[in-house]
Point group: C2
Chain length 68, copies 2
DNA sequence: TCATTTTGTAGACTATAGTCCGTGGTACAA
DNA sequence: TTGTACCACGGACTATAGTCTACAAAATGA
């Protein structure tokens, strides 16, 4: 189990559940759209601050991103 | 509440509970000793892979590091 | 179809994560 | 005093996080 892949899948799943595009999430989290794409595809080793930005942007507790 | 500070405090608390030195944790997590120090003092923006390495080294589920 | 939205990815770039060297400080035991 | 274990921190360094631009490919709906 690759943690980057698992985290990326979670982000995508929660984002889609909320009906938000990558572009909108990027705007809310103040990140680049292409970076969100990289994260969701398990290619990025995100920092703890980025993890929090994304959790806040999606209005979901950080813990939920680590329930695999 | 600074996420880096909160995370660092958690790492220190759990590490001390386990009676492990920074040096030993660094060795177990395959990280640099001075970097562990920086993390515990809330000065480092650790990556998701590093978060997992530390959790595994301390044998604690990642989720526990995010229960503030 | 066709237009529009959404996404993947590449390349070049800047900022910073993480390493490795060292020094010094504190605490405790011999 | 001396040794030893632990920790904070600085500087210099390499690897990579994260940005930005651009283009192409799906996907979606009319």
């Amino acid at each position: 189990m690759d943690i980057k892949v698992a985290y990326g899948k979670k982000v995508r799943q929660i984002r889609k559940d909320k009906g938000v595009s990558q572009e909108k999430l990027a705007e809310l989290a103040e990140l680049d759209r292409t970076y969100i794409s990289g994260i969701e595809n398990g290619k990025r080793n995100v920092s703890i601050e980025t993890i929090f930005k994304i959790a806040e942007a999606l209005n979901i507790p950080v813990i939920e991103f680590f329930e695999f």
